[in-house]
């Protein structure tokens, strides 16, 4: 946290006096800042009312048991909470196992569609791989070269057209 005295000296160019700094408006503002800062620094904290402590402890005492820490809960509530927690964990595990078994054993529409899609993708990839292997490598190189040449020609034509038809207009 910044010390106001540091802030003042920093902003006021090393804490020049009112008569030394240039600019009357700025000088007056700096003097005012130092003045109020001096007043604030000399001010002791206000004394808290005597009733504050009583009020705080009364509110602490009035809090319901469940809003306090687990250690402060009644024994019965703690036992019930533990039983409920273990029950919840067991129920969750049973539920997860049941869902897994259900998916494995039954022909669910979604799962079936997923299997079919997966098979179709796999068959397409196999077909592509087969075709690629059947083509002689020289043809592939020639195809790549033709593709690159066409791309370069198209790029050149596009540039030429842009410069002649658009920029010079």
């Amino acid at each position: 946290m910044t010390d106001p005295r540091d802030r003042l000296s920093g902003e006021r160019g090393g804490g020049l006096g009112r008569d030394q700094a240039g600019g009357a408006g700025h000088d007056e503002r700096g003097a005012l800042e130092r003045l109020i800062d001096g007043v604030a620094r000399a001010q002791p904290p206000r004394r808290a009312p005597a009733s504050l402590e009583t009020r705080v402890f009364a509110q602490i005492a009035a809090r319901p048991w469940w809003s306090k820490g687990f250690a402060h809960w009644p024994v019965l509530a703690r036992a019930a909470f533990l039983v409920a927690s273990f029950g919840f964990i067991k129920l969750t595990l049973v539920g997860v196992m049941w869902v897994i078994d259900f998916v494995r054993t039954s022909d669910v529409a979604g799962v079936d569609a997923l299997h079919r899609t997966s098979n179709a993708v796999s068959a397409t990839v196999s077909l592509g791989s087969l075709v690629l292997n059947a083509i002689p490598p020289v043809w592939l190189y020639i195809g790549a070269a033709v593709g690159f040449t066409l791309y370069a020609v198209l790029f050149g034509l596009g540039t030429f057209a842009y410069r002649t038809l658009y920029v010079q207009r």
Partner: protein, 174 residues
């Protein structure tokens, strides 16, 4: 020492600081006591960590400031609106700034006048002024906390200083 007694000692150490922050920001003793109560309930909930923490004071200050600003938030919108309606021209200090204030009064009287003056300041000036000069937040932190622009924070603090100096001068009979 049991937990309650330990917390009572903890509270005794910090209650003036918490109350001061809240009362200077709100300008109202009753609201400040309500906020301080809420702060110490939160402190009690976090006491297992706070009891040994060297930054417990900072934690309390942060929580107090946050709760107080939340409390004031509905007024803050209105203050922001009016604050932005004004021009920047009245930023200039239009009176000779004295070198000292209230020096001819005894300390307790001076402290009382300063607290009363803070209460009398309009909220739009008091809140940023207290955050800067009493809570030692930077302009950037204040802008972030109040969700207003940095130039606006500086303007409001400057106006707050001028207003406070005028009130103090009047109260001190200068």
């Amino acid at each position: 020492m049991d937990n309650q007694a330990e917390f009572a000692t903890f509270m005794y150490s910090y209650q003036d600081m918490v109350f001061s922050t809240a009362v200077r920001l709100t300008g109202n003793d009753t609201q400040a006591e309500d906020i301080a109560q809420e702060v110490f309930i939160k402190a009690y909930e976090n006491f297992p960590t706070l009891r040994t923490s060297p930054t417990a004071g900072g934690w309390l200050k942060t929580v107090t400031t946050r709760l107080t600003l939340n409390h004031l938030s509905r007024y803050r919108r209105r203050w922001r609106f009016f604050s932005e309606m004004r021009t920047e021209d009245d930023l200039e200090v239009e009176f000779p700034v004295p070198d000292t204030l209230l020096t001819d009064l005894d300390a307790s009287r001076r402290h009382e006048i300063v607290e009363r003056t803070l209460r009398e300041l309009p909220e739009r000036y008091r809140v940023p002024l207290v955050l800067y000069h009493f809570e030692e937040l930077s302009y950037e932190q204040i802008a972030e906390q109040l969700r207003i622009s940095l130039p606006k924070v500086k303007t409001d603090i400057q106006r707050g200083r001028a207003a406070m100096a005028k009130l103090l001068q009047r109260a001190g009979g200068v």
